[in-house]
């Protein structure tokens, strides 16, 4: 006989069966395509074992898109449920699961990896480096994120999804009210992905500090590199807090400890406290790189130097400090007392100052510039007003007494979607359109890009602007249905229409990608947008070693000066014979390590300690093996460099 839990191991329900079938069909499709075209070896050699930051970046972006699709589907299901009053498209339980996975996936498995992907693609090129500081660790970061995301998503078909919200508040998420494995999936999936994120933070910080091309002082770095630097610092100091919070709750659930219990002296609010000590820096982790992308794009498409560079740097450093001292604004209503709430209310409002400084700098950069309205610039332009709306309402939420009214209403939902979509996602789209030629060697189509932009912009506002209103009218977040006659119905219908509009809009992007791969003109210049930073000085896509000669930097906007400055000879990289380039070897171990973690944590989710232990032992064995590996790098020969450069028309 099988143990009892096998009876409900696999989730049942019509929609789940449909999903099961789709998942199986997709997997079979991928497997057969790979087999038919004999691509398995290629997949392993070129992608799964790669330590090249550009490829790792592309894999991050690909995985993040898959998660975007999943999270988007969740969003559409929620909006369908809320379209009309008294709807029963989803049950209450199902609705809870859907908003939980939507939030968790969008923040941790979509926004972060999308940005980390773009950082991987662009940052090392922008500082004129040949790779990140720790390429092997970079691969481990990716695979732990990837398998963490897979583990989280597995809950959909095996065992059941978590249902306590992306914030997973106890006691609801504790062992008594939530005995199923769903919550365990949340804890272990996030913890695994969090490890990878922490490693990325360390990796990027050391890269920016130590790997810059000669002459590139800190104050000559492109603004995106600055934002990477500050983001890394936030990651390094925020993610350990998440690790602790998740682990403590894991102990409560698996081993019966009482940190967050209602009984035995535990303190449920300690979870909330720890969660937001991580959570607030986290929201800045997902916005700062978007700020950086924006600064790059606005400078490039205005044909001007970024206005107020030192102020931009200063404001980001201020944000790094402030984002660690505002976390209580997420739980003013806990009632910690007037002193606590006042302190954290004021510190929160302070954060709006450096943020405002950035907005003005972007505006002044455009002032009197010759603006080119290409797709990346359109997203950047749309970013500014939406972000201002989100920021203003954020300041409203920071007024502690008023927050007793706004808290957990749709007003809050509107605030953070204006930040996360109008800010982060617009920034990500801007970055994708901007660096697409650098990644794949061709621009995306402008016409389809404009369709994508306008439909998305309009639908986004249609979805979220009414949320401010229904929020003020008293509609609370996470309610799964509502009666008619409250004055919310029409607005909710509008929101649903807007949500589907965003879904349709994304198909324009998809079509654009497919179309461009097939028909778009290849970019042979390497400098698709008449860019200003060093990533545009090499070919598109960049060769494995990025730069045949490491560039030498004399000023901010280094590549711009190489092209146009009066004494540009000085800036040109001296023609000298190539020298062999030292590069790290590929390795399959990061992938295997991620997989071993996956097996182990899957075991722990079901409290099968044997499986969990064996998986962990495999992880440690792989680390041990690495410690004894001394042959970790190779040289690219001069002939090979000459060949590569000649093929791309540079010699």
């Amino acid at each position: 006989m099988l143990p009892h839990y096998f009876n409900h191991l696999f989730v049942t329900g019509i929609d789940i069966y449909i999903a099961d079938v789709l998942i199986i069909l997709t997997s079979l499709g991928i497997v057969s395509v790979l087999t038919y075209f004999k691509k398995w070896k290629w997949l392993w050699r070129e992608w799964l074992t790669t330590v090249d930051h550009k490829k790792i970046g592309i894999m991050y972006i690909l995985a993040a898109f898959a998660m975007f699709f999943r999270g988007g589907m969740d969003g559409l299901m929620m909006r369908t449920q809320l379209a009309v009053p008294n709807n029963h498209f989803l049950s209450a339980q199902h609705y809870d699961e859907v908003f939980t996975t939507h939030g968790t996936i969008m923040i941790l498995f979509m926004a972060m990896p999308m940005l980390i992907g773009l950082i991987n693609v662009a940052m090392p090129l922008q500082i004129g480096a040949r790779d990140v500081a720790f390429p092997y660790l970079n691969a481990i970061s990716f695979w732990t994120f990837f398998f963490g995301a897979m583990l989280f998503n597995l809950s959909f078909v095996i065992g059941g999804s978590p249902d306590a919200g992306w914030t997973s508040y106890v006691p609801l998420a504790g062992p008594h009210f939530n005995p199923g494995p769903g919550e365990n999936y949340y804890l272990f999936g996030l913890n695994l992905a969090g490890l990878g994120t922490l490693a990325s933070g360390i990796n990027f910080l050391v890269t920016v500090i130590r790997m810059r091309a000669p002459g590139m002082t800190l104050m000559r770095m492109p603004m995106f590199v600055w934002s990477t630097l500050i983001t890394s610092i936030l990651i390094i100091f925020a993610f350990p807090v998440l690790t602790v919070a998740l682990s403590l709750l894991t102990f409560d659930r698996l081993f019966g400890s009482h940190i967050f219990s209602m009984t035995h002296g535990g303190m449920p609010m300690m979870w909330v406290n720890l969660f937001w000590i991580w959570g607030h820096p986290e929201v800045y982790i997902v916005i700062l790189p978007a700020f950086g992308i924006l600064s790059e794009i606005i400078g490039t498409f205005s044909g001007k130097k970024l206005f107020g560079y030192p102020a931009m740097v200063g404001s980001q450093i201020t944000i790094a400090f402030l984002s660690f001292v505002v976390w209580v604004h997420h739980f003013f209503t806990m009632g910690a007392g007037a002193a606590v709430n006042s302190f954290f209310g004021v510190s929160t409002m302070l954060i709006a100052i450096p943020t405002g400084v950035k907005v003005f700098n972007w505006l002044f950069t455009m002032y009197k510039g010759k603006i080119r309205f290409n797709t990346p610039m359109l997203w950047a332009l749309a970013f500014i007003p939406t972000f201002v709306v989100g920021g203003m309402t954020g300041v409203m939420l920071a007024i502690a007494p008023a927050d007793y009214q706004y808290h957990n209403s749709y007003f809050l939902i509107a605030h953070f979607h204006y930040m996360l979509i109008g800010g982060t996602v617009f920034g990500v789209f801007a970055g994708l359109y901007y660096w697409w030629p650098k990644m794949f060697g061709m621009k995306l189509n402008e016409r389809l890009g404009r369709w994508h932009f306008w439909t998305f912009m309009i639908s986004f506002n249609l979805t979220f602007l009414p949320m401010y209103l229904v929020g003020l009218m008293g509609m609370t977040r996470r309610m799964y249905t509502y009666p008619p006659g409250l004055g919310w119905s029409h607005l909710n219908m509008l929101e649903t229409i807007g949500a589907f509009g965003q879904g349709i809009s994304m198909t324009f992007m998809l079509i654009n990608i497919v179309w461009s791969f097939k028909y778009a003109e290849r970019d042979v210049t390497g400098d698709a947008w008449d860019g200003r930073a060093l990533e545009w000085s090499t070919t598109s896509p960049a060769p494995e070693y990025n730069f045949a000669h490491v560039p030498v930097v004399y000023s901010r906007d280094a590549f711009w000066d190489m092209k146009y400055s009066k004494n540009k000879e000085k800036y040109q990289v001296k023609e000298k014979p190539y020298r062999p380039i030292h590069m790290p070897n590929n390795s399959g171990r990061p992938f295997l390590m991620g997989f071993a973690f996956f097996i182990s944590f899957f075991g722990f989710v079901f409290e099968w300690y044997l499986v969990g232990g064996i998986g962990l032992a495999a992880v440690f064995y792989l680390m041990f093996q690495r410690s004894f590996e001394y042959n970790t790098d190779h040289y690219i020969s001069v002939e090979e460099i000459e060949h590569t450069e000649a093929v791309t028309g540079r010699s």
């Binding site: 807090v241 081993f255 940190i259 035995h264 042959n631």
Partner: protein, 208 residues
Amino acid sequence: MAYPIDAHHAPVDPSVPLEYSTEDGSLKILGFWIFLAADIVLFSCLFATYIVLHNNTYGGPTAQQLFDVPGFVAETLLLLTSSFTCGLAIFEMHRNRLQPMIGWWIVTILLGMGFVAMEISEFAKYVGEGANITRSAFLSAFFILVGTHGTHVTIGIFWMIALLIQFIRYGITAVTARKAFVASLYWHFLDAVWIFIFTVVYLSGKVS
């Protein structure tokens, strides 16, 4: 052949300690410092949790009743001494003397093992008295904080054993020196964390 590595890892700058002499080495040391900074924050959260919960004994044993002075003082001395001997190993490494380096390294590992053994028996004793992790929030926070430190030490011991084999095989090179230095940073760091456990958990427990 001392060690099977390409020329890239050969020391390039004889004016600095061996562990910093390759770019790879100095990058990794910086990376490890940053990891330790992150670990500081990790422990700070566990300390915060302990401080918030330490009075919530729920009718179970209190810190005052539970902790036994000679026991935790002995643990402290073991770890302190091991931090000292670990420093001596690095000192000998800088003088390029392999034998004494290995000797101190082994002493460090043994002292670390002694510490872990004492901690396990301390935990076993508490559990035997019914003071286990499920008894009260205070005990949950105690076991998780002190246990996390103990796990760190245990991992450190396995790591140091792996390195010991490499010292014996390859001698003192730029690569093994960097590995030894990084492990020694980790070890001193764990001693520093223990000092705070000693102060905040054990000594403060005896005061109140």
